[in-house]
């Protein structure tokens, strides 16, 4: 449930918008030093009853705007005739916004009208051929003081993708293009601004009506040629590529010969040994194809009995077992016994 008093008064909303930089703010433009308009928004901004007052500091009294600009009965700007404008004098504006019985005042910053001038676009653009493949572009300006203007020229040929833009303070209304291609088709635009000697503004005029130079026939053919290239690049080439790809895929799938060449089989070693076990019963020499005489040569042609060798256990009493010896060996405790000449293997029978 809405609590009374929680809704902000419309004027406070307006003030809030103003503090956030979203509220009405006066912007003035002095068009070609002939007339000036100061605007503060459209009907999309907060609908209120606006009135504008202006004065020149230390010079004139405060005066209300005589010619309002309206949008659906809402004042959105003020129109000043030339007689109402004075340059090089500090100019101030006060905007009153009335809403719901309350009034909000918006003071503009101090302005000087020479810094708000927006000249008209240059006219009568003319291109001349000069020597050495040079082009000279000239124009005239509706602004009365041409020496206070600086100009910007933008141009491109039919082969260029982007505009070339240059700014210069021309001595007179002349621009030279050093070298041109007679096979190309050029388009030129010019705009103007008050230069720094006569004011301090960033307001450029609108771009002029263009002037063209070059081979006229190429201009007509250019559109057709561009259309043709468009069809080739965007339609024909992709379709052809897709068709070629499909043909290749079909060929690969259907023709195994081609597939085998492109994707050779990796040999499986187990198949090679399959015959060893299934046909030759594991006989490696037979499977390997070793000749019979070689196989026989490895077989031994003698027989040999197995000789069993065992060690006799040592006896408790000591008996000399050697022959031809009159001196019994002296035995000291702990000392190893002298090696016997009698080998316990003497009694063994070694088959020869």
């Amino acid at each position: 449930m809405a609590v009374p008093g929680t809704f902000l008064p419309p004027v406070l909303i307006l003030l809030l918008l103003l503090l956030c930089g979203l509220g009405p703010w006066v912007e003035c433009v002095f068009f070609n030093e002939e007339y000036m308009t100061c605007r503060w928004g459209s009907r999309e901004t907060l609908a209120a009853n606006y009135s504008l007052y202006y004065w020149y500091e230390n010079r004139s009294p405060v005066v209300e705007c005589k010619h309002y600009l309206q949008d659906q009965d809402i004042n959105i700007g003020c129109h000043f005739n030339r007689s109402e404008t004075v340059q090089f004098q500090p100019f101030r504006v006060l905007l009153n916004a009335s809403l719901g019985g309350r009034t909000l005042e918006v003071h503009s910053k101090r302005m000087e009208l020479q810094d708000l001038v927006k000249p008209e676009a240059p006219v009568n653009l003319t291109v001349r051929n000069m020597s050495g493949n040079q082009l000279q572009l000239t124009w005239s300006s509706p602004y009365s003081k041409a020496h206070c203007l600086e100009h910007s020229v933008k141009y491109k040929s039919n082969k260029d993708t982007s505009w070339t833009v240059g700014e210069h303070r021309a001595n007179g209304d002349i621009f030279s293009l050093p070298s041109v291609d007679y096979e190309k088709f050029y388009t030129f635009y010019v705009r103007s601004k008050i230069n720094g000697y006569c004011g301090s503004t960033q307001l450029w005029s609108e771009w002029s009506v263009p002037v063209v130079w070059g081979n006229n026939s190429t201009s007509k053919g250019t559109a057709e040629e561009q259309l043709r290239w468009f069809w080739i690049h965007t339609v024909l080439i992709p379709i052809a590529s897709c068709l070629l790809l499909m043909v290749l895929v079909i060929l690969l799938v259907r023709m195994e010969r081609v597939w085998v060449i492109l994707m050779p089989r990796i040999p499986n070693p187990i198949k090679n040994f399959d015959e060893l076990f299934s046909t030759h019963n594991g006989n490696f020499q037979e499977w390997a194809g070793v000749p019979k005489d070689v196989v026989e040569s490895f077989k031994p042609n003698y027989s040999e009995n197995i000789c069993y060798v065992s060690e006799l256990p040592p006896k408790d009493s000591y008996e000399p077992l050697w022959e031809g010896s009159n001196h019994p060996p002296s035995v000291t405790p702990g000392s190893p016994a002298a090696p016997r000449e009698h080998s316990p293997y003497k009694n063994s029978y070694l088959g020869v």
């Binding site: 230390n58 020479q114 020496h147 720094g196 000697y197 006569c198 004011g199 301090s200």
Partner: protein, 181 residues
Amino acid sequence: MSHAFFRSIFRVLPLLLALSPVNSSGCAMGNRTAEIRVKYENILSHDIDELVNMSAEYRDRCCKNKKHENSKVFFCNDTQEVGSLQTMACSMLRFFQKQKIGRELRRKAALVSCGTLQVLQCRCERLRKEKVCMQVNTYHREDTETGEQSKKKCNQEFCELKENISSLRSCWNKFEKIISR
């Protein structure tokens, strides 16, 4: 015969007054508009732009809604542009000794003042501009630290100087527009 003598004397004096240079009592502009225009466009206008940019780097919050005592300085009177420029330039020279303003800004402002007076060949009535202009040329640059500190301090003298700079530039714009017809 005596009445003829007095008539001739009384005619000449008003004639002399009528024929005296309209622009200023301290300037010898003569017929040098082309020369003045060349010097302004090629040299002085760039110094003025630099001075304006330099002053914009300083804090100016304390300058809002300030009324100035000497309002004469800030008018560029119609048909009196040279005299107005002379007044503004001589007034701006006063700030060269104001210690509360950053040194580089003071020096640049004095440079522009001296340039204006030199181009228009004007003198200052109360100030020895030659002495000040000599000092300007021999002034040393301040170190960066003190310069940055002075930019953060807003004071009324800086506000007056800023006002003076804006008026001088505006008056030069007006003069240029007139002499370049």
